[in-house]
């Protein structure tokens, strides 16, 4: 780990990328009476890690892989190029990211969640463009709502010099902490107990990130596609609420 401070910076919930306005589906689950206390929050977070966490981490890792493709030979001399490696250069990166964008759309059944992912990607991109102006964000697909958040995160982490596993860890960790923090606000849970709950999930989070980083060697269509239909339904209902605390 060459740059631990940058890993912490990008994983920090205070990094200004709009995360504070999102509950990761928790607000809808609380309103539906499915999350009421620490135990049910833990179950919610474990489920979120295994679905949205794994998929998001895998796509962030794959975007990171596309971003560093041209330097694979020099950065990792022990590893020879594989046939499934994305082509190097800007055109190759653009093509790889466009495929990832389409594949992530296909894995995000709820239109509301697609919009949220792109909105969060746009927020992260705004921060990233200011902080790392030389990064290869121009290779992201130009979609009306913005690029998906995991794709932007992958490029951002590559620009910060982080490894693929670190990238996947930030993605997986973010899916936990956003919802956990929303749990403190929505349910008035003891913040110490909620942090203890996150400590208990740390191994699972690291394992998810490792799985996601490995999966990123596969072609885009083979990336993880774990889904939670109830979360999709909740997200669609939540988007229609007149009064809500969180944007998602």
């Amino acid at each position: 780990m060459a740059t631990p401070s940058l890993l912490l910076l990008l994983a920090d919930g205070r990094f200004p990328a709009g995360a504070h306005a999102h509950s990761g589906g928790l607000e809808a689950a609380v309103a539906a009476g499915r999350v009421t206390d620490l135990a049910s929050l833990e179950a919610f977070l474990a489920g979120r890690l295994a679905t949205a966490g794994l998929v998001g981490a895998a796509f962030a890792a794959a975007a990171h892989r596309a971003a560093v493709a041209e330097t694979v030979g020099s950065a990792h001399p022990a590893r020879s190029a594989r046939p499934s490696d994305p082509p190097a250069g800007s055109a190759g990166r653009s093509a790889a990211l466009a495929r990832l964008d389409a594949e992530l759309d296909a894995r995000t059944a709820a239109p509301a969640l697609r919009a949220v992912s792109r909105r969060q990607g746009r927020a992260l991109l705004r921060a990233g463009r200011t902080i790392w102006p030389d990064a290869r964000f121009a290779d992201l697909p130009q979609k009306p709502g913005g690029a998906h958040q995991p794709l932007v995160l992958g490029l951002l982490c590559a620009a910060a010099g982080l490894s693929r596993v670190e990238t996947a860890t930030i993605a997986a960790y973010g899916t936990l902490t956003g919802a956990a923090s929303a749990g403190v606000r929505l349910l008035g849970l003891d913040p110490y107990q909620v942090q203890a709950l996150l400590v208990g999930l740390a191994d699972a989070c690291d394992g998810t990130a490792a799985d996601a980083a490995r999966a990123a060697d596969d072609p885009p269509e083979r990336l993880p596609a774990a889904a939670a239909p109830l979360a999709d339904i909740h997200a669609e209902i939540h988007a229609t609420w007149e009064v809500r605390l969180f944007a998602s």
Partner: protein, 261 residues
């Protein structure tokens, strides 16, 4: 940056740059007539390279939304205007403005703030900047964007990355000791508005005390007393904004766009 270590925005007491001679002079006495709706035959103020962004913050119920509505009325035929609202948990303020009919709904954007209205205007401003960009994408270039914060407390301030000027609104019904309590909004906002002066006799608020305390807290920074009941277009505040617009146009000339919208 940790929220508790944010450096209070410095407010320049002196304009740092004098307007270049090429900029048209700021003249509020020129009457404006608009024979064709939607077409400005002669812009009333020098157009700037990007919109002046003015934050309007203050405690819950101090009259921020009413002030925004009054300014919409004041600038309706004069400026290309956009409004961004930051509600605590609804789009209530945006809905109020739409219902009030003071501004084309296409010119109003609501930002959802996840229980943290101060975060969205100070620490993590991306959603608000997105909203400003979306306004310009939807309705074209703007002269003025009003960014209304969600009702918060006396510690809320806007990031200088989001707004160029900020107005802090308190009201006499909140108690005449509010200016004395200070806080970054009261002490450092570019303009302090003490609202609902018509209620002062009814709530036993002493405007002289509020004026004295505001001067003590704010030094040379301006304070305006306002009653939107008596002045539905908030004339004094609108005049202050016109003045700031002229300075802004001098700093951001039309041919050198600076940043988004």
């Amino acid at each position: 940056m940790r929220p508790d270590t944010v450096v209070p925005s410095a407010v320049p007491a002196v304009e740092p740059i004098t307007p270049p001679p090429a900029t048209p002079p700021h003249d509020e006495t020129v009457p404006h007539t608009h024979p064709e709706p939607g077409v400005d035959p002669h812009p009333p103020l020098a157009r700037a390279g990007r919109a002046l962004r003015v934050g309007i913050g203050g405690p819950v119920g101090s009259g921020k939304t009413a002030l925004v509505a009054a300014l919409c009325r004041a600038f309706a035929d004069e400026l290309r205007l956009g409004v961004v609202t930051n509600d605590i948990y609804t789009t209530e303020d945006a809905d109020f403005l739409r219902r009030a009919g003071v501004l084309d709904p296409a010119r109003i954007r609501a930002v959802e703030t996840g229980c943290c209205p101060h975060t969205a205007i100070r620490d993590d401003i991306g959603a608000n900047l997105d909203a400003v960009d979306e306004l310009a994408e939807a309705v074209g270039p703007l002269d003025l964007v009003l960014v209304e914060s969600g009702g918060d407390n006396l510690t809320a301030t806007f990031s200088r990355g989001l707004v160029d000027r900020q107005i802090f609104v308190v009201d006499v019904a909140g108690g005449d000791k509010v200016p004395r309590k200070g806080g970054p909004g009261v002490t450092a906002a570019d303009l302090l508005v003490i609202n609902k002066t018509d209620l002062a006799p009814m709530v036993g608020a002493d405007l002289a005390v509020m004026d004295r305390d505001a001067r003590a807290r704010r030094g040379d920074l301006p304070t305006l007393f306002l009653s939107i009941v008596g002045d539905p277009t908030a004339t004094s505040v609108a005049d202050w904004i016109r003045h700031e617009l002229a300075h802004h146009a001098a700093l951001h000339p039309l041919d050198v766009p600076v940043g988004p919208a």
